[in-house]
Amino acid sequence: MSSIILKNVSINYPVFGASEQSLKKTFINKGLGALLSRKKNKTLYSNALNNICLTLSNGDRIGIIGSNGSGKSTLLKVLANIYKPTEGIIKHSGKISPIFDIHLGMNFDATGYENIFLRGMFMGYKKHEIITKIDSIIAFSDLDSYIHLPVNTYSDGMKLRLSFSVSTAFDAEILLMDESILAGDANFINKARIRLESFISNSNILALASHSEEIVKCFCHKTIWLHKGNIMKFGLTNEVFHDYNSFLNTQK
């Protein structure tokens, strides 16, 4: 059983200017400056998520939509436990697989074969677990003998195929994705989509941030609509999109 529970979670990013990032200036301002002037130097915060309450449980396929800057990626990163909430609490159970950048952890000077291990270990799998999957990974990536050449010599498409194959080779419990994984050449997309569908259906929970109505409707039965860090609506995908689209039309 997997679940993620968010209770009253708020995320405030501190906004540091150049002078707050300088030890010297901070020291002068807070140390000497405080003695000499009454001026308050308060750090500014940007409120990215506001009082979010959310429960994701087994079988949930959640889409996250909203305009740019609405907090979609921040919410994903809170779910992935990267940003610890500045207020509120978050409870996880189950292994989280965040797939935002599928190249993460790869070393392009190493061969494709070595990179399967690098990427796999980065996602938290042991060497022997990777070995059991290695043949299917190589087969799906279509790299054949290129697998023993350095990744530097690959085309962008080949790199993508390799990292996609590794990233989707292991069943995830809690799968967090943004739509960047769906980019790629058309030929590969069809093949990738089938694999992605089975990859997603094997996961217990999916959260997918996207701009595309088509993608969200394809994968998610429920959707969260975020606007300026607040949840505007959380419900069945069709209903949320109905409201979201009429909201977008009134904005125009």
Partner: protein, 216 residues
Amino acid sequence: MAILVLTLGVLYGMLFKQELNNYIPYLTAGIILWNFLSNVITEGASVFIEHTGYIKQINLNELTYIFKIFWRNIILLIHNLVILVIVLIIFHDSISINILYVIPGTFVFLINIFWIVLILSILSARFRDMPPLISSILLPIFYFTPVIWNKDQLNERAILSDINPFYHLIDLIRSPLLNHAPEPLTWKFTIIMACIGLLISIPIFQNNRKNLPYWL
């Protein structure tokens, strides 16, 4: 590295009128260890800044990145130690039981560098003028520490080295490599420093590690 050690060895050996048989091994060991120490500290200070891409993409234990720096530099250190072995074969005649002090010495040495990196890495993620500050401070420390010169040359002013933590850290490993036991003062100094350092650095690290994605 070998070229550096050889040219410096002959040059400073003449300048300081040292006996090359003793001076070149002393210099080689000192420079190799200093190189390790200063590389780990400078790289360690900017470790989280360098790994921003990782820290914002995946929730890994932050120590992973620090151990990565340590591991890479330990491998480099072992490669450089080959030079020292060759130098020792050429210039030194015997090996004594004192070389065994290398094992506890290395242990205490690494613990001390570890807590220094813990503090500096967190501070540098918050204050971006730290890494350049650290690298500019390390150079004067290098000249102040007995690496290219010998502590004995200070004569009655040896106190200048006795209060220098970097002298003690280097000497923990250098002395046993050159067949001497480190001074008792060195042991006391570095072990106390490691305890106090860990006591200070672990709470600082624990309290601030969750802020890293926000700071970067």
